[in-house]
């Protein structure tokens, strides 16, 4: 489950970074946005792998597909499930950076909005790539290799937005949130469209 | 010439890498051609 496996993993990442960087608390505070989002991305890979594995094992996927639901609805359902898991993880990570890195949420509205947009983008792209990776023996290692380079603009945007929202950087976080929203729309759309093509022969 | 080391390094990397790749393509081509019957070797059609 998310709670017993993926969440602890995300927290471990935060702690490992704290140990590895051996930094005073001010440096960690500055680094918090980046570390938060790297931990989230790693956790998202696990969450997506898990959601894909669950379906192939229980053959609910086959059942859903044969149910006649249009592909985009299948995609939306899947992406939503992943997104909710990610939001739960992010909530805990937020607590984590407050406690471990002394972050403070100067602009909570900005932080939450940016996180929502980024999460939709990650969940959408991730769900599509998750299905692309289904059915092959090498899927566990291929998913991060496919997904993470594509997530680079999300990473850049989310860390900048958080930099502003956590008060560690003099940036305009809302512009970056705009980019994140655009990415969310793009990946949701592309994901929904491509899903039909991809699940034809799963 | 200034920066000679960098120049040789940069140009060298490109020429050597492309040469190695070219040789590997030629070799792969020979091996594969030998395995395919002669009448199926032509690759010019655009339809499949």
């Amino acid at each position: 489950m998310v709670a017993t496996q993926i969440l602890p993993f995300a927290m471990v990442i935060l702690i490992l970074f704290g140990l590895a960087l051996d930094a005073d608390s001010r440096t960690l505070r500055d680094l918090a946005p980046g570390l938060f989002w790297v931990a989230t991305l790693f956790a998202s890979v696990l969450a997506i792998q898990r959601s894909v594995a669950v379906e192939t094992v229980s053959s609910t996927f086959e059942a859903l597909r044969l149910s006649g639901a249009p592909a985009w609805k299948l995609f939306a359902g899947k992406a939503l499930a992943v997104a909710l898991q990610l939001l739960a993880i992010e909530a805990v990570l937020a607590l984590g950076i407050i406690v471990l890195y002394r972050s403070s949420f100067e602009d909570p509205v900005l932080v939450v909005t940016a996180a929502l947009a980024a999460t939709v983008a990650i969940a959408s792209a991730g769900s599509l790539y998750g299905v692309l990776a289904v059915g092959m023996g090498v899927r566990d290692t291929i998913l991060p290799m496919l997904l993470l380079p594509i997530m680079m603009p999300v990473l850049v945007g989310a860390t900048r937005a958080f930099g502003d929202g956590l008060g560690t950087a003099a940036l305009d976080g809302w512009t970056w949130t705009g980019l994140l929203a655009l990415l969310a729309v793009i990946y949701a759309t592309v994901g929904a469209l491509a899903y039909a093509v991809v699940i034809e022969d799963t | 010439m200034d920066y000679l080391g960098y120049l040789l390094g940069g140009w060298g990397v490109v020429l050597v890498a492309v040469a190695i790749y070219a040789v590997s393509l030629l070799r792969r081509g020979k091996v594969l051609s030998a395995r395919v019957p002669a009448d199926r070797r032509r690759w010019m059609t655009t339809d499949d």
């Binding site: 599509l128 790539y129 692309l132 990776a133 092959m136 023996g137 090498v138 899927r139 291929i142 290799m145 496919l146 380079p149 594509i150 680079m152 603009p153 850049v156 900048r160 512009t175 970056w176 980019l179 990415l183 793009i186 491509a194 093509v197 991809v198 022969d201 | 200034d2 920066y3 000679l4 960098y6 120049l7 390094g9 940069g10 140009w11 990397v13 490109v14 890498a17 492309v18 790749y21 070219a22 393509l25 030629l26 081509g29 020979k30 594969l32 051609s33 030998a34 395995r35 395919v36 019957p37 002669a38 009448d39 199926r40 070797r41 032509r42 690759w43 059609t45 655009t46 339809d47 499949d48």
Partner: protein
């Protein structure tokens, strides 16, 4: 049906040679070698080091004085970068064609272009880094727009190639890798823009071609270099395409052989069954339907 090589007849002169070479590749190959030789002469002998001095007033930004002999690296860096973008564009076109027309020919082209593209992308990064060391004083500049974009491009297509290797069904592979390739291509302008906004400025040489202060021979050499490397690209593409095609043939031939074998087995089994039943009908108890 045999899948091994049979000695070809002497009438088929081109099919004699068990290789992917042909007249086309010989022409391209010779042109490449000659062109490279000329390019090397241009780069190292006939062009001058970049000794320009820009009068920008007291605040002399070191980037704005000529780069001396390091400009000679650009005569390989720029062409190699152009080949990279050409290769990945070709992959994007091929991916669209696969999804739209379901063309295996285009799938083969896309795969070949991706492989050659990854090689040249790596070389772009390498030559750029080697150029950057003396000029920028660093091997790597985080936040340089073109460097970041090219790096992500490299990772995307390394992933694409790895992904292709996980699938054995050629139809499925064609379709799925086309999706991956296209999403990768769509991402490039996004990545470019994000990094651009991130940094607002770039250490990267502003597009050299647009700088009219460059003397004619330098400009000519860069364009000539691009042409030479595009010819090399063509040579590599033709060979790589043919290799992919041969692999496809082997797959199909193998499949057909397996089907033919199965058919042969089945018809042999049927024949045996018929023969057996005839034999047993002759020597066994009379059939119940017969009149005795």
């Amino acid at each position: 049906m045999s899948t091994t090589l049979t000695r070809p007849s002497s009438t088929a002169s081109e099919a004699d040679v068990a290789s992917t070479g042909s007249k086309l590749t010989r022409v391209l190959g010779i042109a490449s070698l000659v062109g490279l030789a000329v390019l090397l002469l241009l780069a190292f002998v006939f062009t001058e080091p970049d000794q320009r001095v820009f009068d920008r007033g007291l605040d002399l930004d070191p980037l704005l004085t000529g780069q001396g002999d390091a400009v000679r690296l650009l005569y390989v860096h720029f062409p190699v970068a152009m080949v990279t973008y050409t290769a990945f564009s070709l992959n994007a076109i091929g991916s669209i064609a696969v999804l739209w027309k379901k063309s295996m020919w285009w799938d083969n082209t896309a795969a070949a272009a991706a492989e050659v593209g990854v090689l040249f992308c790596g070389l772009t990064l390498a030559t750029g880094s080697i150029w950057g060391r003396p000029i920028w004083n660093t091997w790597w500049k985080w936040g340089d727009v073109r460097l970041m974009t090219t790096t992500i491009l490299f990772l995307i297509f390394v992933g694409y190639l790895a992904y292709r290797r996980t699938m054995t069904d050629s139809q499925v592979r064609a379709k799925r890798s086309a999706v991956v390739g296209l999403i990768g291509a769509i991402n490039i302008p996004i990545v470019y823009k994000s990094v651009d906004w991130w940094q607002n400025r770039t250490l990267h040489q502003q597009s050299t071609l647009r700088d009219r202060a460059i003397e004619d021979l330098t400009l000519f050499s860069m364009i000539f270099g691009m042409v030479v490397f595009l010819v090399i690209f063509a040579w590599l593409m033709v060979h790589r395409f043919r290799i992919g095609w041969l692999e496809h043939q082997i797959e199909t031939v193998g499949l057909e052989a397996a089907i033919a074998e199965r058919r042969a087995q089945t018809s042999a089994a049927v024949e045996d069954a018929v023969t057996d039943s005839r034999a047993s009908a002759g020597s066994g108890p009379p059939p119940k339907t017969g009149m005795n």
